[in-house]
Amino acid sequence: MKGFAELLDGLAFQPARNGKLRLLEDYFAATPDPDRGYALAALTGNLSLRTAKPKLIRALVDERVDPVLFGWSYDFVGDLAETVALIWPVGETPAGAVPAAAAPTTLGTVVETLNDAGRSEVPGLTRRWLDQMDATQRWALLKLITGGLRVGVSAGLAKTALATFGGVKAAEIEEVWHGISPPYGALFSWLEGHGARPDVSGTAVFRSPMLANPVTDAELATLDAGNYRAEWKWDGIRVQLVALADGQRRVFSRSGDDISPAFPDIVEAMTFSGVLDGELVVMDDDQIAPFDRLQPRLGRRQVSPAMLRDRPAHVRLYDILFDGEEDLRPLPFDARRARLEAWFARAARPRLDLSPLIGFTGWEALADLRGQARQAGIEGLMLKRADSAYVSGRPKGPWFKWKRDPLLIDAVLMYAQRGHGKRSSFYSDYTFGCWRRDRGDDVLVPVGKAYFGFTDDELATLDRWVRNNTINRFGPVREVTPGVVLEVAFDSVHESTRHKSGLAMRFPRISRIRWDKPVDEADRVETLAQLMRV
């Protein structure tokens, strides 16, 4: 448990992606099976464990600690698991109790013991472990069994660390991931070169998708339009549909999360055998609904009948990776497209349709079409080389995304927060606001936050300005006097209850610092709200 606790503790404090990766790699290298496998499962959300409710933990600590002191302490610390971990009085084993085992308790022991135990045994086991462990281990144990690690590690990050650890491509991990289970003995054996790659044939696994790079108008001018095919870039989420002949069906997100439970309507329609690539959207009659109609269906373990009725899901297909058992990925795009169309023509496919290819004569003609994308509620265009094989990752060259032009708004800098890592001495995260009438006065209301889009020189200048114009401090955050107008670029804006303004932007970034513009000429919240409808 010591190594796992140190890992969690390190991850909780480490803000940088590279730092987290280093901690994970070191842990995988230093930890034996099955502990590292259970840790991997816990971090990726794949560990099924007999969990304990916070109430049980409270009852345990009440046996040992004065409730008044516990109350004050909880109030100060603010987190139940951490308070109990710190306050747990050791060495107070009640008379007559069995002395604690000498051997240190491992993560594997904890997981396996809990899963073999009956519900009534959980309090006793937990109490015994708390007695054997130090404060960091107790914290990790309590986080684990109350089911809330929250140390800022995504499954994707853990898999990236595994790939580096094993010297393989991240895509190779992806391809076996959904065919293996905790504690992943075969996986580690393969990554350490002791065993073969785990055999996942016969399971519905995820294949790392092919991704596109953004392209500028200037870069496009250097490319031959005749070598490319164009498609709309629909405004939903990218998915991979995997169906096997034996009836296994899975819907994967772009990052390889199995989101099937949230989309039974799609799963039901997957009456085929193969692997397809497409965009998941909500359909209103024959129209793709705006992204915010899809949003409430994401991230669910269950979905209500009302939601299935009011927000029907649909997949618009871009590509075919497997037809039955046949791997089509090495084929050129044009050949795959022909196979996709032929496959689609074989039978009617409710909830599925083809994303059409767009005929065009040259970049200029295509630019005109792109100009209409916003009007049509489309994110932009995809450009794919006619001869491109389907490869995982984001290779430079074969595929481009040519997004619609962003929306722009002039907002006023209100708060600045220090960044992390290399930016820890810079105020680099900016909250900006627009004007709104409030009881006869114009006041600034925050509308969003952005932390990129500027150069290092601009950052240094903004940082200096923030330090010289601070009117209030809240920990790492400074409130500044309204004095700088930021031109903010963003893809779209939606209603949101998260911000006071009632609006939330997608992909906001600082596009220019308008030192020249007086703050009272910045935009109004109403103007931003109107951009919801463009």
Binding site: F13, P15, V77, D79, S424, S425
Partner: protein
């Protein structure tokens, strides 16, 4: 018949300027300038400038003079640990507190009763100062900075091991340890040396004066070099000590990918540590933790314990529950510092 604590309270009182010994006409750690002050140690919230006469250990006198120059006091009178001095109707001696170099408890006897003012203290070994001495007394006035049972400081050597492991893991980065200039900086250095780390350590200019003074007073710190003389590249893989605020200051931009390290008793609470933006939280305190506080108030066997700055409520609650007489003493001018 007046009780012993009430009798002591008649000659040892809380005033606006702090704790005042009426029988000897002097203040202990006064919060503002007074004619006669006994100072437990050199931290800013205990040692204020501008007193007419100061009585303290020779080390504390030297530290005050180094920090404040002539503002330390019109006259500075050193008193060796253990030596007894007669002041008016009281006898006074200083007993080691184990907090920082020169730190002392003030032991006052009057009318057959003894009061001990702990100042800030800890019970663990510290290579930079004389260990705490337990003095039994009638009234014990204790600090309570870490007076909640969630504060249990792990052994310092284990925390230093964590720092060295991190230096090994991130050799391209510079570890920036936030330490106060008096006490914590020198303790971290001494602990690193005790752990066998004999590479040079790099210090912020604000720490130089007191590190030099510690060395002059006989605390060996090994090679310390000014950060100001170094190039950015040369600091990769090195340990730099600076005041805690420096990590967020423009000063830190001269360092290669600084990894901010916190070193205090507050670091045991993750939310607190993260608020301060550290990536490595070392629980390293110069104050007594909960176990040390409760152990001490039991061991002094006082008729009454008076609790000041920190979590008075919790420590008084504990003492009362344990059958000890205790009350909170509200002293102005105390603040949470580099504990």
């Amino acid at each position: 018949m007046t009780s012993v604590p009430a009798t002591v309270a008649s000659w040892l009182k809380v005033t606006e300027s702090g704790l005042y010994c009426a029988a000897g006409d002097f203040y202990i750690d006064p919060s503002r300038a007074v004619p006669r002050a006994v100072v437990t140690h050199g931290h800013g919230d205990h040692a204020r400038p501008g007193h007419q006469a100061v009585l303290a250990t020779a080390e504390t006198c030297a530290i005050m003079t180094a920090r404040m120059g002539t503002g330390a006091g019109d006259s500075m009178q050193p008193l060796a640990l253990g030596e007894t001095l007669r002041i008016g109707n009281v006898s006074l001696r200083l007993a080691p507190a184990g907090h920082v170099l020169g730190s002392a408890q003030v032991v006052i006897e009057h009318g057959g009763h003894r009061a001990v003012i702990s100042g800030d203290y800890k019970r663990r070994a510290d290579p930079t100062c004389t260990p705490f001495e337990l003095v039994q007394c009638d009234v014990f006035i204790t600090e309570a900075t870490f007076g909640l049972p969630v504060f249990r400081h792990p052994p310092a050597a284990l925390e230093i091991e964590r720092l060295l492991a991190s230096v090994e893991r991130f050799p391209e980065r510079c570890h920036l340890v936030g330490t106060y200039a008096l006490g914590k900086a020198q303790r971290v250095v001494a602990l690193l040396r005790a752990a066998g780390y004999d590479e040079p350590l790099y210090i912020h200019g604000a720490l130089a004066k007191l590190c030099a003074l510690y060395e002059r007073l006989g605390v060996a710190l090994g090679p310390l070099l000014p950060v100001a003389d170094m190039t950015k590249e040369a600091l990769a893989g090195r340990i730099v000590l600076a005041p805690p605020s420096a990590a967020n200051d423009r000063w830190a931009r001269r360092l290669p990918e600084p990894l901010p390290v916190g070193a205090s008793g507050w670091m045991g609470v993750r939310a607190r540590a993260r608020q301060r933006g550290v990536e490595l939280a070392l629980v390293l305190s110069d104050h007594a933790d909960w176990d040390e506080l409760t152990q001490t108030i039991s061991e002094v066997e006082a008729a009454e314990v008076w609790v000041t700055h920190g979590r008075e409520d919790a420590l008084v609650h504990f003492a009362t529950g344990a059958g000890l007489a205790a009350r909170a003493l509200s002293l102005a001018g105390r603040e949470e510092e580099g504990a």
